[in-house]
Amino acid sequence: MTRNVDAIVVGGGIHGCSTALHLCLAGLKPVLIEKDYAGRHASGVNAGGVRQLARHVPEIPLSIRSMGIWEKISDLLDDNCSFESHGQVLVAEDEEELAICRARVAELNALGFTHEELIDATELRRLVPAVAETCPGGVVSRRDGAANPAQTTTAFRRKAEQLGATVREGVAASNIRYSDGLWHVDVGTDSYAAPVLVNAAGAWAGRIAAALGEAVPVETVAPMLMITSRVPHFIDPVVILRGRKLSFKQFKSGTVLIGGGHLATPDQDRNETVLDWKSLATSAQTVFELFPVMRSATIVRAWAGIEARMKDDLPVFGPSSRHKGLYHQFGFSLHGFQLGPGAGAVMAELIVNGGTQTRVSDLGIDRFHPSTL
């Protein structure tokens, strides 16, 4: 049986769920199709960083838009998502790195962005007392923070459903086609038809785009994370390094999350990843050197979420360059979590209003395929 809806969103990550929710807020009735369950992959198992800091310039407007939503996330979702704002700090380990930080902040200021702030050794020590004393400073983005990714993605899903979205979990979208002015998608024995299709399928989105004639340079990756047992509270902000691969965060419970982008081997058809302990050992060594307090903490679990990374590290966001009614929202390249709330809002504006005040034009798929529409 074919059911007619206002929009079909493929992918139950934070992006698909956020877009479904914002479409509901605009009065539409979307269906959200997720092959596993909402938040099963990268959206549910990422580091939870809510970071404007150190972003590529083309995505800063979307990030700022998103930050405004994060700060009122309870109003939107009736769930605090465990969002906490203690800032994010980028640590320069030597003078050379600090000089790069200085140039970056100056560049952003010239563009009119003020969220990144250069800090000296004294302020760094005030924000992150446990950091090794050799670090000369860094950059802080004070409104940044972190949230619980699975809780957040689930909260978006739940709210979307409450507001009228149909959520189909556990069966993959298949047989995606366009006919008679409508997009048709099969879910098991059911079919859905709608004038709008949003491709937010994460690591699986590249295949959907390619099947619709819009192949893009994307790969499937699985950044690894590990978490420790509880240690006494010693750090508030999220810390990332300028040079080496490391991100570092202590939760309220005392556990410490260690990440930074070392990659596992993904097997996306099996929903599995094989961890690379020798790379994780590198992360452990970096923490060992920078935070002596962590040396006797125990690692209780390591994992990796499967997601899409673009060759140019920028998401694919906005209308298709070939098909009417098709929108892409994928390829967030290891930094899509913070963008989720804002991207859903902007996507709903693009769909409902045909445009948005938030500058996203540098993120379109037309950077790979000039528009034929």
């Binding site: 150190a54 689930t154 050992a281 590198t282 060594q285 923490v287 040396r295 209780v300």
Partner: protein, 472 residues
């Protein structure tokens, strides 16, 4: 003394030196395969033959003839030429058969052509009100102290639950002069009827006569209350009393020690973390790996033997260990397989060892009220999550154990679900009106046992990582 593995590559790595692991490693090494046996304990034996080489309990009658069978297995292992490392904690195994093992505070990586997991069983969680109070422990923990240090309880002691191990432990405690005030038998009355059709096989099994005489021995000395349908422990920060209902009569008795036991279940953590598919066994009420007749899992090169393959007891574990090793020999050195017992003989041995198992599984299938708690009873000890907390989370969208993590952190503490996993699955299944198979289990991840950051930091790095300076 701390000994690292002598090599980085082995034909066969066996993990766990209980009955299955001892037999598997000996068989594999005898056939000439380079064999490494890694075991977490200080000596061979696992739980069944714990401290077999070192126990201070030397009167053979006290621990029973079945225990001393372990000595022969250890002897065979020592004669086989297998490399054996104790106090070796395997904390990672992946589908490439790469094994990470912590020995004396340092980690080593070894690679195997075949891995035989013999990680045995764990006691089933027994989540009754008050089960986390100091003074309440599992029967298995009490047995560990008894075997390795000849320690037996001398305070007011209550043993509650069911199953063969419960009676064995009671007999061993009594023989060593320990005190047991009362045994509360939680076996469901209707189970006796359900088990009856399987009784003939059990009557002809080696367990029957031994089990019966052991129960008689215990019942002659201790008051046994059967048909217990409710059970709770109480006390202010320490166990003070045990309450129970039997035959609609409630009684509360003072106690210093409560030993709980309602059977054992496969220890699945390492196998699941390696990607081995498991299915819900509705008779044994636990997760069992998907295996072929030789113990091979769907992950190429990984076999599972012993109780980790599904509860079968020590005798079956020994044979399953031999069968898994035999399959490894067939694959890696077919010529050497001729020296080993014929596969038909091994299968006949296994059938004999497994005879009567269905009877035991049916009789000792734990009652729902002792598996699926309610209200304020703790489910997850690590994060102090109650049954009500779990149900509240299910009501707002936690559809399975992995989703529940986001709401309550269940299974995310140091035990990695060992003490709450089955309870959480069954609780959610009941609340959602689904089968445990549909609900599923935690996705388990390495390290299967925690390691320190310092130990991981000391692991040799790959050259590419040392050079990598780009932030992702």
């Amino acid at each position: 003394m701390t000994v690292a593995p002598k090599s980085e590559d082995y034909d066969v790595v066996v993990i766990g030196a209980g009955p299955a692991g001892l037999a598997a490693a000996a068989t594999s090494a005898e056939a000439g395969l380079s064999t490494l046996l890694l075991d977490e304990n200080i000596g061979p034996g696992g739980q069944v033959f714990r401290a077999i080489s070192s126990t201070p309990v030397t009167d053979r009658n006290q621990l029973g003839a079945d225990y001393w069978v372990g000595a022969d297995l250890v002897q065979a292992l020592r004669a086989s030429g297998a490399e054996v490392i104790h106090r070796a904690t395997v904390w990672s195994l992946d589908r490439n058969l790469e094994i990470a093992v912590s020995i004396g505070g340092a980690s080593a990586f070894v690679k195997a052509k075949r891995v035989i997991l013999a990680t045995g069983a764990l006691e089933r969680p027994f989540p009754i009100p008050g089960w986390t109070l100091p003074g309440v422990m599992t029967a298995g923990a009490a047995q560990t102290m008894l075997k390795s240090s000849a320690l037996v309880p001398d305070g007011r002691t209550v043993i509650a639950g069911q199953g063969p191990l419960l009676w064995l432990l009671a007999a061993q405690i009594l023989r060593l002069g320990g005190r047991i005030d009362r045994i509360l038998d939680t076996t469901e009355r209707r189970n006796y009827l359900a088990a009856l059709p399987h009784a003939f096989a059990f009557l002809t099994s080696p367990y029957f006569a031994k089990g019966l005489s052991m129960m008689r021995e215990v019942k002659a000395k201790v008051q046994v209350v059967s048909g217990v349908t409710e059970l709770s422990a109480a006390g202010d920060g320490l166990l003070a009393s045990v309450s129970y209902v039997a035959g609609r009569k409630r009684e509360t008795i003072p106690a210093d020690l409560l030993l709980l036991h309602q059977g054992v279940v496969p220890n699945v953590n390492l196998a699941m973390a390696a990607g081995v598919e498991h299915h819900w066994d509705d008779l044994q009420l636990c997760w069992s790996p998907v295996l072929d007749a030789s113990g091979n899992s769907p992950v190429a090169g990984i076999a599972i033997a012993g109780d980790g393959a599904g509860i079968g007891g020590a005798n079956a574990a020994v044979v399953r260990g031999r069968i898994a090793a035999r399959a490894a020999v067939d694959a890696l050195a077919p010529a050497a397989a001729a020296k080993l017992p014929a596969i038909a003989t091994l299968r006949a041995d296994l059938a004999k060892a497994e005879r009567g198992r269905v009877f035991l599984d049916t009789l000792f299938r734990p009652a729902p009220q002792f598996r699926i708690p309610s209200g304020d009873t703790i489910v997850c000890r690590c994060e102090e999550v109650t049954a009500k907390d779990v149900l509240d989370s299910v009501a707002i969208g936690a559809t399975g154990p992995n989703q529940l993590k986001a709401y309550r952190r269940t299974g995310m503490g140091p035990c990695q679900g060992r003490l709450c996993g089955l309870t959480v699955t069954e609780l959610i299944a009941q609340a959602r009106g689904k089968s445990p198979q549909e609900i599923g289990y935690y996705r388990l991840r390495a390290p299967v046992k925690p390691i320190t950051l310092a130990e991981l930091a000391a692991v040799p790095k790959t050259e590419a990582d040392v050079k990598a300076v780009v932030r992702g």
